[in-house]
């Protein structure tokens, strides 16, 4: 069993219009020191998954089922108080927009000190020293002075660094980063990713990066999970997913990724259509209305939900097409266009 082991996780929200199946039967695992990238469009259920692991899914309305094992401990069904004690200490989270995610009325230092003192019975002075130390470690210059600054006095990149310092202040073994670079300038994104990689090595924590940006996961991940409509459609090592992707949706994601090694005159190949509604998920394969190869499997695409099957060691794909069909499509039609070596 992995350090974090999620089995058949379902997070459903009953609403007046029907049940929103944000996450519908998701399984994955992450080891200490390893990084899992969860990729998908907006509304594919990736953020809800991370909030579900931390027990932060909205209110009491959500229905959770399945299993979440953290270090041999089952979190679904554990008391809210028990999960609260683990939050921040054993598992921590970095959010997308560091400006709105930090309290505007408290100094950065105060917020880090607070995070530390929830789980450590130490004096304010000790916690403050720790906060300054953490700020220094995430690369904030003059941490002893900046500790008393307010979030609005920081630049976007500095704020995200402070957010990371806050999340790491209790040395969590599981760190979930939800779109950690989306709100940042492109020039700062790479710095933050480098920082996260370095810190992960230093702290040896399990890291989950949630993003819609394949470039980000390519940079950091050991494993990649591609989500679509609340379900996993492809799951494998970064190598598998980048060099031998087998799901048409993953192909679409790769095709819509801007790349510097291509001629600027070439156009991106966006995926047609928009993500499915999570209340009325299309019958059969959820991706079939947007899939250029749906006709190949005939009625099956519209009537039968494809199973997540292993195509090679640990590489899982949810597609009706046969393995050979996918391979030949990738080799002959997709790969030459994407020019992946």
């Amino acid at each position: 069993m992995s350090f974090l082991d999620v089995k058949d996780l379902k997070i459903h929200f009953p609403t007046d219009d029907g049940i929103v199946k944000s996450v519908d039967g998701l399984s994955f695992g992450v080891e200490r020191g390893k990084t899992l990238g969860i990729v998908g469009e907006s509304g594919s259920g990736k953020s809800v998954t991370s909030l579900g692991i931390l027990g932060l899914h909205k209110g009491g309305r959500a229905r959770l089922s399945g299993e979440i094992w953290l270090d041999g401990e089952e979190l679904i069904g554990a008391s809210a108080e028990h999960v609260r004690r683990l939050r921040g200490k054993k598992m921590a989270m970095i959010f997308q927009d560091p400006l709105s995610s930090m309290h505007p009325y408290y100094t950065v230092g105060h917020q880090i000190i607070e995070a530390y003192r929830i789980h450590h019975d130490v004096s304010k002075q000790v916690a403050r020293k720790h906060a300054i130390d953490m700020l220094g470690r995430v690369g904030i210059p003059e941490p002893a002075r900046r500790v008393d600054s307010y979030p609005h006095e920081f630049s976007g990149g500095m704020r995200q660094r402070a957010m990371i310092a806050m999340a790491l202040s209790c040395d969590p073994e599981l760190l979930i980063a939800d779109e950690p670079t989306t709100a940042l300038d492109v020039t700062v994104q790479a710095q933050i990713l480098d920082l996260m990689r370095d810190l992960q090595r230093e702290f040896n924590s399990a890291l989950i990066i949630i993003t819609h940006d394949l470039g980000v996961v390519a940079e950091l991940s050991d494993d990649i999970l591609v989500m679509y409509g609340g379900k996993c459609v492809e799951y494998g090592t970064a190598e598998d997913v980048f060099y031998r992707p087998e799901h048409p949706y993953t192909w679409g994601l790769l095709g819509s990724m801007p790349r510097l090694d291509r001629e600027p005159t070439e156009r991106l190949m966006p995926i047609k259509g928009s993500p499915p509604s999570l209340i009325n998920v299309p019958p059969g394969c959820a991706f079939h209305p947007r899939c250029p190869y749906a006709e190949r499997t005939g009625d099956k695409a519209r009537t039968e939900v494809p199973a997540l099957t292993e195509t090679a060691g640990g590489h899982l794909v949810r597609c009706h097409m046969s393995r050979d069909e996918r391979h030949s499509l990738w080799e002959n039609e997709i790969k030459p266009v994407l020019e992946i070596q």
């Binding site: 909030l51 931390l54 932060l56 609260r84 004690r85 683990l86 939050r87 921040g88 200490k89 921590a92 989270m93 959010f95 927009d97 709105s100 995610s101 930090m102 309290h103 505007p104 009325y105 100094t107 607070e114 995070a115 929830i118 789980h119 307010y150 609005h152 806050m166 999340a167």
Partner: protein, 337 residues
């Protein structure tokens, strides 16, 4: 920070100057436009039996023949430096701040105002403590249990609280609790706090509750709306992700942000109230500034009206100045602007 304070102080002072000009204009200049002669105005000081010569003399001594600017200058000078009134039978000294003499009683206005301030202050402070505690608590609990029976009950009551005027709730409460059950003293009871603190509180209990009910309703609704918004903010999610207890999340992170706009409203409300809680003081016959204002208006006693209006305006301006300064303490983002 210092420039911020200085800028706000200058702004507050300028505001008071403008208010004094407008008030002076309304009570001394507009009547003359409307056809009131200096003699007609002077005759209010001397009574009806006076001869035209006396009236003319008084009008001259009070400066009613002077240009408006000079009159205004003298009025402001009286407030800051005091004034002398020569009625012919001897010179009256009116020490600063001099708001002139009452038409009716012939007494200087300022000591009257001073006498009445403690009553209004007592009423306003006691009620403010009650309504802030009750309103904010109810608002927070309602927001957290949105849609519950408690929420619907309190918000329904709050709607009633906002819509029912003091002269209705006040009268009903007097009829029931004072004259019916005899739990509280009848209207018109007031004991200064330095005489007997217990009796002071006992006498003011019913006015406090009635007045607080009206304001608590507004504050509860406002707190509820603010909390509902704040609790959906990203930083609340962050606070939870840190592992904070829900109570700390609500109070330290949620309420803290919600209270800031409420502070502004409180400053204005409280400032208005210490300038005279007119309806409450009238309903319970409390000898405060509000009652004074009503009496002054009824008897068209211009110096009294001027005095009470200016004092009330000063309270509002000072209260909002204090709120502005507090805002810089409460919301660190204000300091930069």
């Amino acid at each position: 920070m210092l420039t911020y304070i200085i800028r706000r102080l200058i702004g507050a002072f300028a505001m008071l100057i403008v208010i004094s000009m407008v008030t002076f204009g309304i009570f001394y200049v507009v009547p003359q436009w409307a056809g009131a002669t200096p003699e007609a105005m002077a005759s209010r000081y001397v009574g009806r039996a006076a001869t035209p010569e006396t009236v003319h003399l008084v009008a001259e001594r009070l400066g009613f023949y002077d240009p408006v600017v000079v009159q205004y200058g003298n009025f402001v000078k009286g407030i800051f430096a005091g004034a002398q009134y020569d009625y012919g039978a001897g010179v009256e000294q009116c020490p600063a701040p001099c708001f002139g003499y009452s038409f009716i009683s012939g007494q200087p206005v300022w000591p009257d105002l001073l006498d009445r301030m403690p009553v209004t202050f007592s009423l306003a402070i006691g009620a403010a403590v009650l309504w802030v505690i009750a309103g904010v608590t109810v608002g927070v609990v309602s927001a957290l249990r949105r849609g519950s029976f408690f929420d619907r009950l309190t918000m329904g009551t709050a709607l009633a609280g906002v819509s029912l005027p003091i002269f209705f709730t006040g009268m009903i409460s007097l009829v029931v609790f004072s004259y019916g059950l005899g739990w509280t003293p009848p209207g018109g009871s007031y004991t200064p706090i330095d005489e007997n603190p217990a009796l002071w509180a006992y006498d003011l209990l019913l006015p406090w509750i009635t007045l607080a009910f009206l304001f608590a309703a507004t504050y509860a609704r406002l707190t509820r709306a603010g909390m509902l918004e704040t609790m959906g903010e990203d930083y609340i999610r962050t606070a939870r992700a840190k592992g904070l207890k829900e109570r700390q999340v609500v109070v330290k992170h949620g309420l803290r942000a919600t209270l800031t706009p409420i502070l502004t409203l409180f400053g204005i409300d409280f400032g208005l109230l210490i300038g005279g809680a007119i309806l409450t003081e009238t309903t319970y016959t409390l000898p405060g500034l509000g009652q004074y204002a009503i009496l002054a208006i009824r008897t068209q006693d211009m110096p009294q009206v001027m005095g009470v209006v200016l004092v009330a305006a000063t309270f509002v301006v000072v209260a909002s100045l204090i709120v502005d300064l507090l805002y810089a303490v409460v919301d660190p983002r204000v300091r930069l602007s």
